[in-house]
């Protein structure tokens, strides 16, 4: 039965059905054919999955990102990033990675960072002779920095389901996020020495402190946002959800009154767009909740746990196996759905082996995000490919060095727990 459900799910996903419908129909059919279950459990479990106050941080941070993007923040961020890192070999490439990192401070989604920064930077890259497939690979992978630097949608989902402090996870994301930025920039730098990448030897002029200081006021809005989010959460003033509300209001004020690039008449379309983006994510979480519940009912979690424990009782080997499973599934299925479906297994592993919750959370979050950037099913690469107006095959030609760079960071995070625990432990105390 379990195998049949998974086969049906994969067949639907690969034939092009939207992920929501594929998981939703698999869950519905599963509940119908399982004896002793009533079908009303299907909507009830969807409801229960999203009936959560922590999850509310999602629409708020999505709205804040939408307001900031419409307010023209991404263009200003790219200009600012060029003044910071543009003087290096492959300047524009570095600037786009750096911009994704700074954009991550207001946005919690990899796809949002890829499309916001990519739509500004990819046309300029094409003009400067960057290969479109290379640009798409770079932006498709850099986007995930946006989901590791807080706020982060995937951390909100993880925190709310695993009962782990979302604020703590946010703080744990900084070091890995910065490491990913450096890793991707180094990858560009190494490419710039290859004979077939002459375009990467261009720079955007010399570094000038004067230019940097001049550019800084244009992006203060993005730099101030993390102070509000983390400052508020750390000082205990508000929860992650309330931080989301405050950042929404802050983004509203900045876009309407400071940048003056958004008019009141744009508000309904901004709200609707934010609602659609939220629903694309939360809709999948809802049906994955129903599917995950059905899997638990059918003892899927026990099967997986027994498999893992039979393999080894060494916590590190179990964790590495779980990471491999997540990475593998991430190549085939949407990353948030995997997280929701595997959550009971993750919680059992956490209880059995007593991993630090921030450490385990960060490893899982990064693994799901890298899974989401690994072909064939790689949402970030899809988005960047369409912005670069190239073919997916071209993107795939260049994506692997970037994916491996991110994978290297994941390995560092796995083997050096300090990287993800030092900041939350310092601020929140050892948990």
């Amino acid at each position: 039965m379990l195998i049949g459900l998974f086969i049906a799910l994969l067949l639907l996903i690969f034939s092009g059905a939207p992920v929501l419908i594929a998981i939703g129909i698999a869950a519905l059919i599963g509940i119908i054919i399982t004896p002793d279950l009533v079908v009303a459990l299907f909507p009830q479990k969807m409801f229960a999955m999203i009936d959560s106050f922590s999850l509310l941080a999602l629409p708020y941070f999505i709205l804040a990102g939408e307001l900031m993007s419409r307010g023209g923040l991404s263009k200003k961020l790219v200009e600012f990033s060029e003044t910071v890192v543009g003087h290096m070999r492959g300047g524009l490439g570095h600037a786009s990675v750096f911009a994704c990192m700074v954009f991550g401070n207001v946005s919690g989604s990899a796809a949002a960072a890829t499309s916001a920064i990519g739509s500004i930077v990819i046309p300029s890259m094409n003009e400067k002779g960057y290969k479109p497939g290379f640009s798409a690979s770079l932006l498709g992978t850099s986007g995930i920095i946006g989901s590791i630097i807080p706020p982060s949608m995937v951390m909100i989902v993880y925190g709310s389901m695993a009962g782990v402090s979302i604020g703590g996870l946010f703080m744990a994301g900084y070091i890995p996020g910065i490491m990913m930025t450096v890793a991707l920039m180094l990858t560009i730098y190494f490419h710039s020495f290859r004979a077939d990448f002459p375009e990467l030897r261009q720079t955007s002029g010399k570094f000038s402190l004067k230019r940097l200081i001049k550019a800084l006021p244009k992006v203060w809005a993005a730099i101030l946002a993390p102070i509000i989010i983390l400052g508020g959460i750390l000082s205990g003033i508000f929860t992650a959800t309330e931080a989301g509300v405050v950042v929404c209001i802050y983004s509203f004020v900045v876009s309407f009154f400071v940048y003056k690039s958004v008019k009141l008449k744009d508000l309904p379309s901004i709200m609707l767009q934010a609602a659609i983006t939220t629903t694309i994510v939360v809709g999948i979480i809802a049906v994955a909740g129903a599917f995950g519940w059905l899997l638990s009912y059918l003892d899927f979690n026990e099967v997986v746990m027994n498999f893992l424990l039979n393999l080894s009782v060494d916590p590190m080997i179990v964790l590495l196996t779980l990471v491999v499973v997540i990475l593998f599934l991430g190549m085939l299925v949407e990353s948030l759905a995997i997280l929701v479906i595997l959550m009971p297994v993750i919680v059992s592993i956490s209880k059995t082996f007593g991993f630090d919750p921030m450490y385990l959370g960060m490893v899982i979050v990064i693994a799901t995000q890298i899974g989401a950037t690994t072909p064939p099913v790689a949402v970030g690469l899809f988005v960047a490919t369409s912005i670069a107006k190239t073919t997916y095959d071209q993107t795939l030609k260049y994506c692997w060095p970037f994916v491996f760079a991110l994978f290297f960071v994941l390995l560092l995070v796995i083997f050096i727990p300090w990287l993800s625990t030092v900041i939350p432990n310092y601020f929140l105390g050892t948990q």
């Binding site: 092009g16 992920v19 519905l28 299907f42 209001i249 309904p268 934010a274 609602a275 809709g283």
Partner: protein, 162 residues
């Protein structure tokens, strides 16, 4: 005729979603303001936001479907011939129809039970919350029928848009 009513319904739903979202942000802001500045918590604001969120999600699932925004993996699909694509496309719309009926009908069944429960903070009957799923399900059904209708009209190859 169907299209005209459809467009009107879309407009009403989209307005409702935007208005509900604005209201949710305002209540969230009010909650922070009350707790941070007036030092008193509101008993109802968390529930209001949670329930508005549920309504927003179930009303927006059909809107996102209508706009073609739901994430799907199109790699293989794009390699199919147009006629195979059309068959798959009809099949997916039929799946949406099935999902819509399941959500609307079974949420309605749950409403029958939920009306005996009252929410702790807002003090409203819980069937009102599930009602959002029923409305969303019916709207989803309506959108899927509108998508299916032109595709199933066998002798109308005009535009050929998939």
């Amino acid at each position: 005729m169907l299209e005209k009513i459809g467009k009107q319904t879309d407009r009403i739903m989209e307005f409702l979603i935007a208005a509900l979202f604005i209201l949710m942000v305002c209540v969230g802001g009010l909650q922070v303001f009350n707790r941070f500045l007036l030092n008193q918590s509101l008993s109802w604001s968390e529930e209001f936001q949670k329930f508005s969120h549920i309504w927003i999600i179930f009303l927006t699932i059909p809107v996102a479907y209508n706009h073609g925004s739901h994430i799907g993996i199109q790699l293989l699909f794009n390699k199919f011939s147009p006629s195979i694509q059309k068959i798959f496309s009809i099949f997916f719309d039929l799946l949406w129809t099935t999902l819509a009926i399941a959500i609307a009908y079974y949420s309605f069944i749950i409403m029958g039970v939920a009306k005996f429960q009252t929410s702790a903070g807002l003090g409203i009957r819980m069937d009102w919350i599930y009602f959002g799923m029923v409305v969303g399900g019916i709207y989803l059904l309506f959108v899927s029928i509108r998508k299916l209708a032109p595709q199933l009209r066998i002798s109308s190859p005009k535009k050929g848009g998939l």
